[in-house]
């Protein structure tokens, strides 16, 4: 059975209830005369403030799992709790931020207006007290001064920075990221990986990050959850222990190389 508990990072251990809890989540799709089991009784617990990466081959259901947590996909069976609520309630309370693979910016809106979208829809017009405003978020993602630019004037990496700022507006407790850097060049991706860890430390948000890159999964995650393909089942949860704060140069150290090699071995045994 694929029921495993993910440990919190030590500093947040006393924080209380888990940020995300999935129990025996199964998702079946009907397509072209056959039923596909995308997820098969997946259970996992993500502690508040932790960083979990979901790693697996394409088609293993990692994105589906993320969408179940975000209330985009309804599970066929099983239960999900986000910040102690149902996913739908968590979504309405803006506990969830979602970063899409292709940034999903609205082309007709400036950078600032894209970041402000969460305050214009869904009946929410004001920021939660204490959460970061749009200017502070643009500074956090390194785009201060680009407020008036239109999406087509930005590079792929900058667009993804805008979409991270948008997802963080309103101070969600859980940030779900679906292969956000998958379409970027390696140099940009490395830089954004390092910066994402900095943003995570600065905001204290719980992050669940989907990737198919072993190095990205090991570099970012405190834990890596590996899924097998068709049906998607939890293969193994690997705790990554590396000296914090993690820097890019860490990836050349024997410790990191060994962790990545272990992940590869587990993936190949799937």
């Amino acid at each position: 059975m694929a029921s495993s508990t993910i440990l919190a990072r030590p500093a947040q251990a006393a924080a209380g209830s888990p940020a995300v809890e999935c129990r025996d989540v199964t998702v079946r799709f009907i397509s072209e005369r056959r039923a596909v089991t995308a997820l098969d009784s997946v259970s996992l617990t993500v502690e508040e403030g932790s960083f979990l990466t979901l790693l697996g081959p394409s088609g293993c259901g990692k994105s589906t799992l993320l969408r179940v947590i975000a209330d985009i996909v309804k599970p066929s069976s099983g239960s999900v709790q986000v910040q102690g609520k149902t996913p739908a309630a968590a979504r309405r309370d803006r506990e969830i931020g979602f970063v899409f693979q292709d940034a999903a910016l609205l082309r007709w809106r400036s950078v600032l207006d894209n970041v402000l979208l969460p305050l214009e829809v869904g009946g929410r017009r004001e920021l939660r007290p204490g959460s970061m405003g749009p200017e502070a978020l643009l500074a956090l993602v390194g785009l201060a001064g680009w407020e008036k630019a239109l999406p087509h004037e930005l590079s792929g990496g900058m667009r993804q920075r805008v979409s991270i700022a948008r997802a963080l507006l309103g101070g969600p407790r859980v940030l779900l990221m679906d292969e956000p850097f998958g379409a970027l060049d390696e140099i940009t991706r490395d830089r954004l990986n390092e910066e994402l860890l900095r943003m995570w430390r600065e905001t204290g948000t719980t992050i669940v990050f989907v990737t198919h890159s072993i190095y990205e999964a090991a570099f970012l995650g405190q834990q890596v959850l590996m899924l097998t393909a068709r049906p998607g089942r939890v293969r193994e949860i690997v705790a990554i222990s590396l000296p914090e704060p993690r820097r890019l140069a860490l990836r050349e150290t024997p410790g990191f190389v060994a962790q990545a090699a272990h992940l590869r071995a587990v993936l190949e045994s799937c």
């Binding site: 985009i72 609205l106 390194g142 239109l150 087509h152 590079s155 830089r191």
Partner: protein, 283 residues
Amino acid sequence: MAVELPMARAAPPRAAASEEALAAAWTATERRKRWRRVLLPVAGGAALLLVWWALVAILHVRPFIAPSPLVVAITFYQKFDMLMANLGPTALEALSGFVVGNVAAIVIATVFVHRKHIEQAFFPIAVLLHSIPVVATAPILVLLLGNGLAPKVSIAAIICFFPTLVNMVRGLESVGAQPMELMHVLSATQREVFFKLRVPTSLPFLFSALRIAASTATVGAIVGEWIGSQVGIGALIIQATYNFDSALLYATVLCGSFFSVAFFQVIRLIERLVVRWDVEAAG
């Protein structure tokens, strides 16, 4: 910070002075290119006029068969007031038909997108009706609606309606899966999804239909005037043809074309002001 910001181009390994010279040379080339873009079409048009003139003169074409361009120009100048008096009703019919046809198409497209079963019931009929040539329906509309403005406006409206309906439905439905999921995660209402996502996404589609509609609405109004009308560009075309007044005929056609081109350009201008984000459309 962000290394992927658009940085300055790599500095050329030249002295600043020669860089200035390069910049000047570049500006000069650009200016020449721009002039060429304006002058060459003008020269091409002038050459065609000259060929027309030469053919009429050399082959001794009789004036009621085809006039020389000079005669057309003179007629256009002398009968300018009369031409404008006839353009007025045609322009009014074309503009009214444009507004009526496009507003109806946009409203129905909105209903289609929100009520799938209505779309499935009526969209195939709309496509079927679209394949009927409007020129063929013109007499029916004149019989139904009499000889006033109504049949002409209707014909212009019907011509505009179908391309806009098809494009608008396609535009409203061309919203990507991820922006829709984004709106869902933000708990947006249907109304918010429509106005903040679907409508802006559809605007480039709408404008490409409106550009076509600007020309076809004029065609619709003129065709409507062919059948028993006393005023308008269409009526004048029929009269000039029956009177073998080829100079007036050509001048009238020219007048209608000017209006049609101007209408098209106004829509294009509005498109450029509204759809600023669409790089392909702006380019």
